[in-house]
């Protein structure tokens, strides 16, 4: 088990202790304050170089990571994969060797293959690797920012700061994750974060969109989605990943919407206090109705803005810390 990410890579949320996760959330809370200042910048990573390697397209994650690095005063090397030598067939190993030769302290990578971040960390052991999504495996900072957002909303309701509540607000919290679990790295990271902090997680999906094996997952599958909506404190709606061929796992998009979409009608079953989340980008009208996404209980924009402080915290702890301090 990893008790802190100080001086370490962040490849997955599996194996992080609750204390390690809380340390990131508490540090992010400090960066929320920095992000509210007129001058949204601190010199914590001044002179450090953070490379951002996105082998898959992304808007929010990439912008959010690069903004985070810049607000920490790091220099950002951003590799536009589409116009780089990767297109000429350069291997991951050679690409990272080239970037490493320029002198970097950390690399943020998104890749279409599960395990790519882990593989990369083996090539450059002296560089901190932050996984920004690898295939169907993990998207750790998304899991962290979702947990952070939930804690922030719940803490506000009791007029406390999130860091004062620790993991208290997660104890016994009912989290329902619905949609394309099979292809979702967000689901895997969310489940790891929520369950480590003490929440009870259930998942809802058509059989074809459940992973092949759920043996190691700390979740239960709900039989009746509508009933589960009444049970939930938090509903995490996942995106139907058409680019990963999800379309062929469901008879039709409209049938998916009919059975597992968070429609306006279905959302009426939710408790008034329930929090609605979506990692974006949304397919409005497919997994979530437009009207539902714009409800006050939907915190989708807040998830996006919390991305920056969470990624600042991750970079700060990972790059400036050293593992010996953590014992």
């Amino acid at each position: 088990m990893i008790t802190s990410i100080r001086g370490r890579n962040l490849l997955t949320l599996d194996g992080l202790t609750p204390a390690a996760i809380l340390e990131i959330l508490d540090t992010a809370e400090l960066f929320v304050e920095v992000n509210q200042r007129t001058i949204k910048k601190v010199p914590a990573l001044k002179g450090r170089v953070v490379a951002s390697l996105f082998f898959e397209e992304s808007t929010r994650t990439r912008l959010s990571f690069e903004t985070a690095a810049k607000r920490l005063s790091a220099d950002v090397l951003s590799l536009a994969v589409a116009s780089s030598s990767v297109k000429k067939g350069e291997s991951l190993r050679d690409t990272i060797a080239t970037i490493d030769a320029l002198g970097i302290d950390a690399v943020v990578m998104r890749h279409q293959s599960s395990g790519a971040a882990h593989q990369l960390s083996g090539y450059v052991p002296h560089v901190r690797v932050i996984n920004a999504g690898d295939g169907l495996h993990q998207h750790p900072t998304q899991g962290l920012l979702d947990a952070f957002t939930v804690r922030q909303v719940l803490a506000e309701r009791v007029h406390a700061k999130g860091s004062e509540t620790g993991r208290e607000l997660f104890t016994g919290l009912h989290v329902l994750i619905v949609g394309d679990i099979r292809h979702s790295r967000v689901a895997r990271s969310d489940i790891a974060a929520y369950s480590a902090l003490g929440a009870e997680v259930r998942i809802a999906a058509p059989g074809t969109l459940l992973p092949a094996s759920l043996d190691d997952w700390p979740v239960s599958v709900v039989e009746d989605f509508d009933e589960a909506l009444e049970w939930a404190d938090v509903v995490g709606v996942l995106r139907l990943q058409r680019e990963r061929g999800t379309g062929s796992f469901v008879p039709s998009l409209s049938e998916f919407t009919e059975t597992y979409g968070l429609t306006t009608e279905r959302a009426r079953r939710l408790r008034r206090s329930a929090i609605i989340m979506h990692p974006g980008p949304m397919n409005r009208g497919v997994e979530i109705d437009s009207g539902v996404a714009d409800l006050p209980s939907a915190v989708i924009e807040r998830q996006v803005s919390n991305g920056v402080p969470i990624r600042m915290a991750t970079l700060y702890l990972s790059v400036t810390g050293s593992p010996e301090e953590t014992r």
């Binding site: 540090t27 809370e29 400090l30 304050e33 001058i39 914590a44 620790g166 993991r167 208290e168 810390g321």
Partner: protein, 187 residues
């Protein structure tokens, strides 16, 4: 709570040897510093008292309280966290930080930084850098409960609760409840 177990790590390894100032002594010293501030600062209305996270926060509060009592007016106060401005992050144990809370624009204000112990001066250097991100103060002054010497930078305090020449192997802990000298158990 597990997240906070580590925040007091620095203090946990402290083995106190002697109580140098009691809570009452500290209280008196704070009041005396408040009087000195009033004597030196003409336009007290422009004053903003900023306690440095985390050791200086309580002192900042009590100093601001004492000032409010003497001047019978409200004193603007806040806290400043300098962890992200340090130049010695790699050289020292990881510091748990707490958020800054600067209530007013600092432009043209007189900022009084307050800390518990003045040692190398690096915390104050970081604080001066941090202040720049909140505006351009007209002037900055420094009040510390204890000055223990061993400066590594050309920084001096304007108000001192107690001068305590120390050796480098010693450790000082200053709170509003008292000032202790001792050693670090893990060194």
């Amino acid at each position: 709570m597990d997240a906070h177990a580590s925040s007091s790590r620095a203090r946990d390894s402290f083995v106190p040897r002697t109580l140098l100032l009691s809570g009452e002594d500290v209280h008196r010293a704070v009041r005396r510093m408040a009087h000195e501030v009033v004597e030196r600062v003409r336009d007290i209305d422009s004053l903003v008292v900023l306690g440095l996270q985390t050791g200086g926060v309580d002192f900042g509060e009590s100093l601001a309280d004492a000032l409010a009592e003497i001047t019978t007016s409200g004193v603007a106060r806040g806290t400043l966290d300098v962890s992200f401005y340090r130049d010695d992050v790699a050289q020292r144990p990881f510091i748990n930080s707490a958020a800054s809370s600067v209530p007013v624009d600092l432009s043209d204000r007189l900022v009084l930084l307050v800390d518990d112990v003045l040692f190398t001066g690096r915390t104050i250097r970081s604080a001066l850098n941090a202040l720049g991100d909140f505006g351009r103060p007209r002037a900055v002054q420094l009040a510390v409960m204890v000055d223990r010497g061993h400066r590594e930078l050309p920084i001096r305090p304007d108000y001192v609760g107690k001068n305590l020449p120390t050796s480098l192997s010693e450790e000082i802990v200053a709170t509003v409840e008292g000032v202790w000298i001792g050693t670090r158990s893990d060194s």
